[in-house]
């Protein structure tokens, strides 16, 4: 049997992966798509279309506004109905383009397929990844081209593909691995070639033996470089970037650092597949596999949604609600890190890995009991922080103390709040502290920069003042 890799801490919530046996189905066309221009970390894309314009499927409708940004493509053919704002999963308004579908789904001219990609310059491939608007599809939605361009002074020797899917309930990556292993592996090899690395690992949690088997079998065909499929212990948050790198390579990403600091790059399964499709088929990223699940639903499953599909349509597709069932929470993402949304008009985005519904009886009422100091949060924190102490400090608004107890290292995985018997809102505390401390650090940095600038100016002035003296 394989060696099983894992990390410190973590929890094992009930998996509830009810839709793992349901094959991926292409979602039908909808009359109206709301495509946010900000489906990635960084600046929102700039719109390239105007109201009334006709667009085709796959046509570029948004261009990156800065280095950390992404390209946006139209999910179908039709007319631009309006350009405005829409509600995003975080409850904020996002700039968006509303496209009225014409029902024809006419494709735009695809990007030129690069069939001979093994002999293509990596720079061209990277440009293609950028042109196809690919972002990390695991949740954080970091633009992939930025990830694939190695920062100066850093070396990369390991590529890790994240097929862990440690969030309970979600099965989208699992189905993708079962149904599209060839495309995924092509994508993996592409990324490996772009980075020029020899060590390639695909990490999969042990609760998906079928996916491990399929990928291991298919991976034998790949030798340059060899792709290793690594079974991982079923433990949330195995799929967190830092924990995954540690489990596979035993390297610790330094506090405040990036995977590149330990010579690693982590890519999601979905992103690998999208990269391969963008290169081989010339298909930009305008659709993704999303799990729609939850106890109130009649038929949970996995669908390939175009971006911009409202959640309401996804819920309808899953058979709607059971007789007498009610939605208490509508969650974008999984149950451990997903965000609650309050409107079914929120659109599916490039990073929507799941749409989860919870009934009223599953919702836990917020309580504010005092910390019992049982120390369970301490045992499960994968970052080895002391969430109990931090939460008491934050409750009393002692953010400086929280900073010295390393609150900024928190990855908000939710293990502490999951396990807390007093039901304390630990993750919300951490988020609050991170925003407060982050604001303080930014202000300090701005002040330091200003001071340095003033000093440099003063020095320049002094030098300028001395120069005329020297002339005399």
């Amino acid at each position: 049997m394989h060696k099983i890799f894992h990390f410190y801490g973590g929890v094992h919530p009930k998996e509830s992966k009810v839709s793992s046996g349901v094959a991926i189905v292409d979602a039908p066309l909808y009359p109206l798509y709301t495509v946010p221009l900000s489906m990635h970390i960084g600046a929102p894309a700039k719109s390239l279309v105007a109201v009334g314009d006709t667009v085709l499927r796959g046509q570029q409708i948004g261009e990156p506004a800065s280095f950390v940004s992404s390209t946006i493509h139209s999910p179908t053919s039709g007319k631009v109905k309006s350009i405005g704002t829409c509600l995003g999963p975080a409850g904020t308004q996002l700039p968006c383009v509303v496209i009225e579908a014409d029902g024809q789904d006419t494709p735009a001219d695809p990007l030129t397929p690069i069939t001979d990609w093994r002999n293509t310059d990596p720079a061209i491939l990277r440009a293609r990844v950028a042109a196809a608007g690919i972002v990390g599809m695991g949740g954080a939605s970091f633009p992939t081209p930025v990830k694939l361009s190695i920062p100066p002074g850093k070396t990369i020797d390991t590529l890790i593909i994240n097929g862990v899917e440690c969030e309970p309930c979600l099965t989208a990556d699992h189905r993708l691995m079962l149904e599209n292993p060839k495309m995924i592996l092509e994508g993996v090899e592409m990324v490996a070639n772009m980075l020029g690395v020899q060590n390639v690992f695909i990490g999969i949690e042990n609760n998906k033996p079928d996916a491990i088997e399929v990928l291991t079998k298919e991976a034998t065909a790949y030798t340059a470089p060899a792709i290793h499929v690594v079974p991982l212990k079923v433990r949330y948050p195995q799929g967190a970037e830092k924990q995954l790198i540690y489990a596979i390579t035993k390297r610790q990403v330094p506090s405040g650092g990036l995977p590149a600091d330990v010579h690693c790059v982590v890519q999601n399964i979905g992103s690998s597949c999208a990269i391969a499709e963008a290169v081989i088929l010339g298909k930009p990223l305008y659709e993704r596999v999303t799990t729609v699940t939850g106890t109130p639903l009649v038929a949970p499953g996995n669908w390939r949604f175009r971006v911009g599909t409202p959640y309401a349509e996804a819920i309808k597709l899953a058979g709607g609600l059971k007789e007498g069932a009610q939605i208490a929470k509508l969650i974008s993402g999984g149950p451990m890190m997903g965000m609650t949304v309050y409107s079914q008009s929120v659109p599916v985005m490039k990073n929507t890995s799941g749409i989860l519904l919870m009934g009223p009886d599953e919702v836990k009422q917020y309580t504010s009991k005092a910390c019992l100091r049982c120390g369970r949060c301490n045992d499960v924190c994968p970052m080895q922080l002391m969430p109990g102490i931090l939460s008491v400090q934050i409750e009393n608004e002692r953010f400086d103390d929280a900073q010295s107890w390393h609150v900024m290292d928190c990855i908000e995985c939710g293990c502490c709040a999951y396990t807390c018997p007093a039901g304390r809102p630990l993750v919300q505390h951490m988020r609050r502290a991170k925003s407060e401390v982050g604001a303080k650090l930014r202000a300090q940095k701005a002040a330091a920069d200003a001071a340095a600038k003033a000093k440099a100016e003063a020095a320049a002035k002094a030098a300028g003042a001395e120069a005329p003296k020297a002339d005399k």
């Binding site: 890190m337 965000m339 309050y342 709040a417 018997p421």
Partner: protein, 397 residues
């Protein structure tokens, strides 16, 4: 719909219907009721404060039953008075302090039961009530209630009584001896009644009272050091009158209600360790340290010091190590901290027992280590993932 969700839906209803979505007029809104928004995670374990306290009560049950077996109705009386008084004090102080009432979480009942187990079975009811007042009001509620108390409330109650009423707290009625071991009581405990005590400690001369075996070890040392020479004051265990097994089962051993039966306490703590309510590091390190220190003393001078096994099985050590030193609220958070806490308790207990003026040091040593808990937390804080290895948290400037 659960009660909780109903409560959420009862929030003030807006005067107007929820607004249509900002962009998409075709979306099927408004929903039948408003959705709930909250911070992640949306899954939680089933373990709650209530369930933890329930399990602690269950784990204390064997020791309570043993106490009732050994001391009869007196035990029932003391335990019942303590539990009821603690619940009443908790209720009243929550009312007086305008705090939400947490009676049903069971922590007050646990405190009451633990305090009761620390009292002799013939304690007058008013002393029980005073102890409960000290435990709940002074030991817990004035600090902010459950979770905020720096010291173990039950021990605050016990120590307060020990200082205020030393006579009552250090004389115990004779436990019942099982018929199978029907030796006359005097034979089991030859010095059971009316022994003059050393160092001016008061002791009642009621013939029904007996003394915890620990006193004998103390007396033995006193004899050796020549302060007072007493007849009959050798350690009974060395005379072969009481076997270690009998001490472990609590047969013929005087003491507080919960101190007698080691077996019952062990069963209880194993349940709690299995459920991850108690960190095994604390009892193991506590008992281990006591055994090592008393063992060294015993090996050095077996005639003056009792054997480590005798120390282990007598007095409140097992009760303290299993149920008092493992109280979540007043002990360190991390496992490493738990080890230090256990060792600290062990060192203090052994020192008080071997060289202190009190025969028993468990309560004091746990309370002293409770005070060290924040410091232990600070210095045993683990190195966060991705940090250079260095223990502890620096003091903020």
């Amino acid at each position: 719909m659960s009660d909780e969700a109903k409560e959420l839906n009862k929030a003030p209803q807006p005067a107007t219907a929820p607004a249509a979505p900002a962009v998409d007029p075709n979306a099927p809104l408004p929903p039948r009721h408003q959705l709930i928004v909250s911070s992640s995670p949306h899954f939680h374990t089933h373990s709650t404060v209530d369930s933890i306290m329930r399990w602690v009560l269950i784990a204390l049950a064997p020791a309570c039953l043993a106490a009732i077996y050994f001391f009869g109705f007196g035990a029932v009386r003391v335990l019942a008075i303590c539990v009821v008084a603690c619940l009443v004090f908790e209720f009243l102080s929550a009312k007086a302090m305008d705090r939400s009432n947490e009676l049903k979480d069971g922590s007050a009942a646990v405190t009451g039961l633990l305090l009761g187990m620390n009292l002799p079975s013939n304690t007058p009811w008013w002393i029980c009530v005073i102890g409960c007042f000290m435990a709940i009001v002074v030991g817990k509620m004035i600090y902010g209630g459950l979770g905020c108390n720096p010291f173990n409330p039950a021990l605050i109650g016990r120590v307060a009584l020990l200082i205020a009423f030393p006579v009552v707290m250090t004389t115990w009625p004779m436990p019942r001896i099982p018929a199978s071991l029907a030796k006359p009581a005097e034979q089991v405990m030859p010095v059971a009644s009316a022994t003059p005590q050393h160092k001016g400690e008061q002791v009642s001369v009621m013939p029904v009272t007996t003394s915890t075996p620990l006193k004998f070890s103390k007396l033995a040392r006193t004899e050796l050091t020549g302060d007072k020479v007493l007849e009959n004051s050798t350690i009974p265990i060395q005379k072969g009158e009481v076997s270690y097994w009998q001490l472990f089962l609590g047969i013929g051993k005087g003491g507080s209600l919960g101190e007698t039966c080691g077996l019952a306490l062990l069963i209880g703590v194993l349940i709690l360790i299995y459920l991850n309510i108690v960190r095994w590091q604390i009892p193991v390190c506590y008992l281990g340290t006591v055994v090592i220190i008393t063992g060294i003393a015993w090996l050095a001078n077996p005639s003056a010091y009792a054997s480590p096994l005798f120390h282990l099985l007598t007095g409140g050590l097992l009760l303290g190590a299993f149920f008092m030193a493992t109280d979540m609220v007043t002990t360190p958070l991390s496992r490493l901290g738990a080890i230090w806490f256990g060792v600290g308790c062990g060192v203090l207990t052994a020192c008080i027992r071997l060289w202190g003026s009190y025969p028993e040091g468990v309560s004091f040593s746990i309370l002293i280590m409770n005070a060290f808990t924040p410091m232990i937390d600070r210095y045993t804080a683990g190195t966060p993932f991705g940090m250079p290895k260095k223990k502890g948290i620096k003091m903020p400037k």
